[in-house]
């Protein structure tokens, strides 16, 4: 990369601080993958449609391919690596596994991140609502049927855990 134009950037990702030098034009998706070594964030289209690169910015889903890394300074960034990190899969991860909600797995991190954030605010969704929320993530393998089933299952489990 071009060192002459690089500037210091401070990113807070998954609770850790990353100090790095990067050009202001570098996409957040590239910096997360190449500078922070967090390769679970996938790049599928680089124009904000496919959803594979979805991360959380201060808890809200965002396309990391539509942000520059410099823009994300001062925000709390969460990537797929924060989910299931303690050896226990998150509800969405576990349900995707059980319901065969993934095939090639390339779109999966974006779906996990998007839907975990969404379920936190939508505890008891209908199937139609799940499909609508999922429609920002393209999957070319599964036909979505099992992903939808997995999200419903994850929602149910989250509710049960809350009751406990």
């Amino acid at each position: 990369m071009s060192d002459s134009n690089s500037i210091p950037i401070l990113l807070r990702v998954n609770g850790r601080t990353h100090r790095l030098f990067a050009e202001p034009r570098r996409l957040l998706s590239d910096v997360l993958r190449e500078d922070c070594g967090l390769t679970g964030t996938h790049v599928g289209c680089e124009h904000g449609v496919c959803g594979a690169c979805t991360i959380l910015v201060d808890g809200a889903p965002a396309r990391s391919c539509l942000l520059y890394a410099v823009q994300a300074q001062g925000n709390d960034i969460t990537t797929i690596e924060a989910f299931g990190a303690e050896g226990k899969l998150s509800p969405v991860q576990q349900a995707l596994h059980e319901e065969h909600g993934l095939q090639c797995g390339f779109c999966t991190p974006g779906i996990v991140v998007t839907m975990e954030a969404w379920l936190a605010e939508n505890a008891d969704p209908t199937e139609a609502e799940i499909r609508d929320a999922l429609s920002g993530n393209l999957c070319r393998c599964t036909g979505y049927h099992n992903i939808v089933a997995a999200i419903a299952k994850a929602a149910r489990r989250r509710r049960e855990e809350t009751v406990k």
């Binding site: 002459s4 090639c104 999922l134 070319r140 049927h145």
Partner: protein
């Protein structure tokens, strides 16, 4: 025999953990120190001569290491030559990058290598390419015109392939027929659009003169053969190493020009070079598919019986042939009659070059087949005022007809089209639907029920390729090793891109060895490890790959039990089996623990070989190859319900079900997932996806905002009903599956839409069924049965 039933168990996938946690290892996740980045400058013209290329300014740009064109590549690599000895197919040859002229928008012209992808793209702005624009050939009509410019100037015309075939005496049948019914089908251009685009990383080691190519490819060994040949290397100088693949669908089979360029540059520069195409490049320049116009002519008796059938299929193959041009349409023509009893049959195929991206196989290269066949039957039913289900039944093969030799010579056996049709009709409840349809029609809601009967060609044996005039082998190879500790490793020549092979093949290997599938590791995609097989394509994985691993595992089981018999002091292994990783012995009809584990036997086989039976070679490994029957077939019946908003033209899928027979199932969860995914791809293709070229050959579908993939909102829940019966000839009893879903959806959705539109007296026969197209059919039309208030 063993007590364990691993084949057919609904096990969750072993590969999931790494994918759901973001620890999958795809191409871009491989860190290669000092790696350079390649970027391609592509043609902005559909058809133009390359007059000059000036890279001087770009070479001085920051980070730029090298800039090359077709001229350099011509020295470093050999051209592709597609010239199988097939009658009716013109041979074609082209260089690694074009030298004299470009043939489509997106044709790669210049490759820039820089220290960083951003800098490579910056430098592209500084390269000046002068073109002399030529008349484009944007469509079939222009391509076949007498004065058409030649897309490939070494050919005599744009008609790159023309083949015809006749079986029986169709002419006599047409002369004697009560009716002659003509139907047409227009299938549009589509593209695979895997969510991970193409890319590769080439590492040349000058010290040992060895190339390692990291690339997500479905067929690692045939790919290596091509890459080595075109680099003028031996196959022992090239390792193809496939990481996890983010979807392929047929797009990741051929050796593409960009990939060869990157490999050649890595060798030339003696530095690692990687390339990742962006989505625009993937949509306009990777590989396209489909785009056929098909016409059928059926000679029909009064009862709806098809006496003879003729097919004419014209396919737009784009500018370059990465496959023999006849290959895709040929399969359509070969299997067209599918589940129906038709003996007098003729086809004519024309494959045409245009100034578009080259075509290739996309999940169900023969996807249009079932739409053509069942669509023809529905046209017959309309013409004769018969029930289309009855016309299907009148012509459909019965169990007593099997094995049935199709007019093209393919033998259909172990299929159950009548059984799946009846099961689908029962599950769907047509009478109940008709009541709803009538009631809603009175309220201005137009519903339609669709049906499509599919016979899917799944696993192609070598004999099929030979008979069809398509170069290739149908065999697959695999090995299984029990290591000294009793751990089990296995490999096969297939590469996975989402099919779950690490799970299903572990199940296959585990069964004869009487072990837990979790204790079997499947190693895929590295040509130094995996045996030379033909790779993953069509629906061959389960049948060709599963079978060869079963055969290898059975051979190892026999060796293990022979050793066990010796260790136990028995004359024969006939009363021994493996179960739960231990040897069991039948005594008085009861299986009892023999005091020996699989690990004990493995230890002896490797580390204490003097205890082996006399003359037996140490170790526990088996390497086998398997060539399947000429063709195996799966079958299924697809039904769906749509509603058509006649005001806006929007088609909505309300329900979708399939009754499927794909033989012995290795893992029902994975099979169901493959069905759902294939059906979704079919639905997405019928309703949304379209590669659009304008009259100048400009591609107008270069982003996901233009090339529309179905989301979770457009795809309905998909019910999959199993009706599996084993194939008698394959070792596992499986038939193969994964493409029939596309075929069925491409036929069932039009069937439903036309049922919904029937009151208006119109027939939709041009896919995709966009709102604009449906409205164009309905404009000025009225529900002919509606009251005039």
């Amino acid at each position: 025999m063993t007590g364990t039933k691993a084949i057919g168990a609904a096990l969750p996938r072993k590969e999931d953990y790494r994918f759901v946690t973001g620890q999958g290892r795809y191409l871009d996740d491989i860190v290669v120190p000092g790696c350079l980045h390649a970027h391609f400058i592509r043609s902005p013209h559909a058809h133009a001569r390359i007059a000059s290329i000036d890279s001087a300014a770009a070479l001085k740009a920051e980070g730029v290491i090298s800039i090359v064109t077709g001229r350099e590549l011509e020295e470093w690599t050999t051209p592709v030559r597609m010239a199988p000895p097939i009658e009716g197919l013109q041979p074609v040859e082209f260089t690694t990058l074009p030298i004299d002229k470009v043939r489509f928008i997106g044709d790669p012209v210049v490759c820039i290598v820089a220290t960083d992808r951003y800098l490579a793209e910056d430098a592209a702005e500084l390269v000046t390419i002068d073109y002399v624009v030529l008349d484009p050939v944007p469509d079939l009509d222009r391509a076949l015109a007498v004065d058409a410019p030649l897309v490939d100037e070494s050919l005599t015309s744009n008609l790159v392939s023309r083949q015809s075939f006749t079986a029986g005496d169709p002419a006599r049948c047409f002369a004697e027929a009560d009716f002659i019914v003509e139907t047409s089908f227009n299938q549009h251009r589509q593209t695979h659009a895997p969510i991970e685009t193409r890319g590769c990383c080439a590492i040349w080691e000058q010290g040992r003169r060895h190339l390692t190519m990291h690339i997500g490819n479905q067929v690692p060994h045939p790919f290596r053969t091509q890459l080595a040949r075109r680099m003028r290397l031996t196959e022992s100088q090239v390792t193809v190493a496939c990481p996890d693949i983010g979807g392929a669908f047929g797009q990741k089979i051929a050796l593409y020009r960009e990939e060869l360029t990157v490999a050649a540059l890595a060798r030339h520069l003696r530095r690692p070079v990687r390339w990742r195409e962006d989505r625009n490049e993937n949509l306009i320049a990777a590989s396209h598919a489909r785009e056929d116009i098909a016409r059928t002519r059926a000679a029909v008796g009064k009862d709806g019986r098809i006496l003879a059938l003729e097919l004419e299929i014209v396919e737009d193959f784009g500018a370059y042939c990465f496959y023999p041009a006849n290959y895709l349409a040929r399969v359509v023509a070969m299997i067209l009659t599918g589940p129906y009893r038709i003996s007098d049959y003729a086809f004519e195929m024309k494959i045409v070059l245009t100034n578009k991206c080259g075509s290739g196989p996309m999940r169900a290269p023969m996807a249009i087949t079932s739409w053509i066949m069942d669509g023809t039957i529905e046209a017959i039913a309309r013409r004769l005022a018969l029930d289309p289900i009855e016309v299907r039944l009148t012509n459909m093969l019965r169990a007593a007809d099997l094995p049935y030799t199709m007019p093209t010579g393919l033998v259909v056996e172990d299929v159950t089209p009548r059984e799946t049709l009846h099961a689908a009709l029962e599950a769907f409840d047509i009478p109940g639907f008709r009541v709803r349809q009538q009631n809603d029609r009175a309220r201005g809601i137009y519903r339609g029920a669709g049906l499509c009967c599919v016979v899917e060609s799944t696993t192609y044996g070598s004999a099929f390729y030979k008979a069809a005039g398509i170069p290739g082998s149908g065999h697959e190879a695999g090995w299984v090793r029990i290591e000294p500790s009793g751990a089990v490793n296995a490999s096969v020549g297939l590469m996975a891109s989402g099919q779950g092979y690490e799970t299903t093949f572990a199940q296959v290997v585990a069964e004869p060895l009487g072990i837990d599938p979790n204790d079997v590791q499947i190693h895929l995609g590295n040509t130094d490890t995996a045996p030379y097989g033909m790779g993953s394509r069509g629906a061959r994985g389960g049948t060709a790959g599963g079978s060869v691993l079963l055969i290898a595992a059975q051979a190892l089981r026999d060796k293990v039990l022979t050793i066990a018999a010796t260790l136990l002091g028995l004359n024969t292994s006939g009363e021994l089996r493996l179960n739960a990783s231990r040897v069991e012995r039948r005594l008085g009809g009861v299986w009892t623990e023999a005091g020996l584990s699989l690990a004990d036997v493995a230890h002896v086989a490797y580390l204490d070989p003097l205890r082996l039976p006399s003359g037996m070679e140490p170790g526990l490994e088996a390497h086998r190859a398997y060539d399947p029957p000429p063709m195996t077939f799966s079958n299924g019946t697809h039904m769906c319900e749509v509603s058509v908003d006649v005001q806006t033209g929007k088609v909505t899928l309300e329900r979708y079900l399939v009754v499927d027979d794909c033989g012995t199932v290795l893992n029902p969860v994975i099979v169901r997932g493959q069905q759902q995914g294939a059906i979704a791809m079919g639905i997405s293709g019928v309703l949304l996806e379209e590669v659009i070229y304008d009259e100048n050959g400009q591609n107008r579908s270069g982003s996901f905002a233009d090339y529309l993939l179905a989301t979770a909102v457009e795809i309905p829940p998909i019910e999959v009903i199993s009706h599996h019966t084993p194939n008698q000839k394959t070792p596992t009893g499986s038939k193969g599956m994964s493409e029939g879903g596309v075929m069925g959806a491409i036929g069932a959705v039009p069937s439903a839409v036309n049922d919904a539109l029937a009151p208006f007296g119109v027939v939709a026969d041009h896919q995709p069924f966009t709102p604009m197209y449906i409205r164009s059919l309905l404009r000025g039309k009225k529900d002919q049965g509606a009251r005039n208030d």
